[in-house]
């Protein structure tokens, strides 16, 4: 078996991974095109993908608001819907982090559920990390031209170690140059409900971020989490910036027909 896998050449592989797509509530509701880009990337890498209807949200809003009972109920629902897959993949470091790192803590002291949660969590991966670290994908055809800069979303970066993987895949996209902004690994100020509860502070943080994006000279902003992207895109639009904002999966899948986040074309 060849060690390097170029997408599209792997379809003859006998063992096809059964992948459950946890599409995330924001992608489901606001930007389905990211979900379809994710499906394409996974299918091109030889996976069989399904998105179970019983999924809603990962439960993070409840969990981070101190509402453990609701967080646990949602976690049980998610685990039950996904535990039969070989892998569970989400186009979000934040939601994947919730599923992988935080679900087990919701069941502490309940041996049966703890074991189920642990088995489930072991299968969960963020999209770019799954492609690179699990499937060994080294390149994608992709589709985008110009200069892009990549923002490291906090949970993906610090809980799951997602940093090198999206950059490696982006580097393989012909015609696209990636330029690093200053403080790429610093929070954009989204923080879930934080951005509305403490909107003044959130605004100060995202202003730093959009300043760094502008200074990078990139004409496209990419990241792996729609929450952060909507925050940054919303601020860029309010500031009148022309930066095109997209989820990294759209560029990697070459599915950039949909207008960018918060923009016309």
């Amino acid at each position: 078996m060849q060690s390097e896998t170029i997408m599209g050449e792997q379809r003859a592989e006998p063992a096809r991974h059964n992948v459950g797509l946890f599409v995330t509530c924001l992608v489901d509701l606001f930007r389905p095109s990211v979900g379809f880009a994710t499906v394409k990337l996974l299918e091109d890498a030889g996976c069989m993908v399904d998105a179970p209807m019983a999924q809603t949200c990962c439960g993070q809003p409840a969990y981070n608001s101190g509402d453990r009972a609701d967080a646990r109920a949602i976690a049980e629902q998610t685990i039950a819907a996904f535990e039969h897959f070989d892998y569970v993949v989400a186009p979000s470091g934040s939601c994947a982090g919730m599923l992988k790192k935080h679900y087990p803590s919701l069941f502490r002291g309940d041996a049966a559920w703890e074991a189920r949660a642990a088995a489930f969590s072991a299968k969960v991966h963020e999209l770019t990390s799954f492609l690179v670290d699990v499937l060994g994908v080294t390149g994608v055809e992709g589709g985008a031209t110009g200069t892009a800069t990549y923002h490291d979303s906090c949970s993906g970066l610090r809980e799951l170690g997602v940093q090198r993987q999206p950059r490696a895949l982006l580097a393989s996209v012909g015609g696209l140059t990636v330029t690093e902004m200053a403080e790429a690994d610093v929070c954009c100020g989204f923080g879930g409900t934080f951005c509305v509860k403490y909107s003044d502070i959130s605004n100060a943080i995202v202003e730093q971020k959009t300043g760094n994006i502008a200074a990078s000279g990139a004409d496209m902003l990419l990241a792996g989490d729609l929450g952060c992207l909507m925050n940054m895109a919303g601020k860029l639009k309010r500031q009148g910036a022309r930066t095109e904002v997209r989820h990294v999966a759209e560029v990697l899948a070459g599915m950039t027909d949909a207008p960018p986040i918060g923009g016309r074309s």
């Binding site: 629902q77 906090c154 639009k237």
Partner: protein, 478 residues
Amino acid sequence: MLVTSPAFKDNAREALADRQLQKALGNVRAGFIDKRRKAVEALPEFDALRDSARAIKDHTLAHLDLYLAAYEEKVTASGGHVHWAETAADARGIILDICRKHDARVVAKGKSMITEETALNDFLEASGIRPVETDLGEYIIQLRGEHPSHIIAPAVHLNKEQVEADFRRVHTDLPPGRDLSDPASLLGEARRVLRKQYFEADVGITGANFLVAETGSSIIVTNEGNGDLSQVLPRVHIVVASIEKVVPTLEDASQILRVLARSATGQEMSVYTTVSTGPRRPGDPDGPDEYHVVLLDNGRSSMLGTEFQEMLRCIRCGACMNHCPVYHAVGGHAYGWVYPGPMGAVLTPSLVGVEKAGHLPNASTFCGRCESVCPMKIPLPKMMRHWREREFERGLNPAVARYGLKFWAWFAKRPAVYRLATYLGMPLMAVAGGTRRRFRFLPFAGGWTKYRDLPAPQGRTFMQQWRDRDHVREGARP
């Protein structure tokens, strides 16, 4: 010290509008982070040292009673006195008694956050005793009647022009035409003024970075040497420290010292690391006649055995706030009590009550940068979440947030209803977004649209489209 944490939002708004403060906070971003990174990169075993430091503190906390008793025994054996203070008021009373016994009129102080926590300066002044801060940053904010805005850089919220103005205002016996334009001249002037105070002081008060059970010693780290003079020149030395500062051995203290300064200022070691053990012995060239240690609990022992115990590993390096985007935005005073930043967001509710400090653990994006740089690997976001759980259990968070959450969770727990609602709702919202595909204002989303546009949804939800795609596939099968 007055707790203004309940007004955190107002404090933050004021801080964000303070241009001078914002400029000073820019220096925190620019300075500390880069220095720490370089120091860490230069020491390949840094992460292993963090694990080792964490293990030392975990072990100590698991046997805190034993190590404190052992420490007391050694202090007593070296001729010193240990005083146990359950509350801040107890600590103030003990210190005042010692000062009164020696007819103290001036007290020289080394930098100590515990004396901030116990509001000692105000208390001593009210009792007719003049405390003189000898750490440069502490001295500056004392002149201004302020409190520290950072646990290791108390005056980090100020610029040198402000300090120059304060020195000219207070040091009226010096020539008005003197040049104070560069920081070194300010430092020089502070040194000359403070030098006299050490000799006037009857009592020296310092904090402690470590208390060593093995020897009964206290250890302080400073960069100015002021701590040494504060504890050696006056007749009486009082160490004020909280109970979790104890470590078993000198070897343990030196292990933790290897991560402390690197995490704090990016130095390999602070300029001075000073060990003091008991009063002056016969034959010693210097040292105090009396040596006292005031051990403060002030709520810490009730953190033991709870989900907040790990917070007691904190060695007060300040790395968490140096790397915190919220601290960078609002500075330390906005947090409204002694301890700012992520460590304050966990510790303050423990010490003053979550009823007053509830904003602090909520005002975090959970970006996790604090935990990633904490030398003691304290899971700060996790503990902030625990505070949110306590608040939720007790119904302390705002009713709008509670009911909003419950409303959302009701749907999130019912996938079929959730599907139906979103199938209907999102296409409508997409249409409402118009050709601009975003909202400049949305009712119920004012917190968002006050500062940013809200990107509109694309239209039909992913799950709706996926179901159609599945049906097409099913239909295509023979």
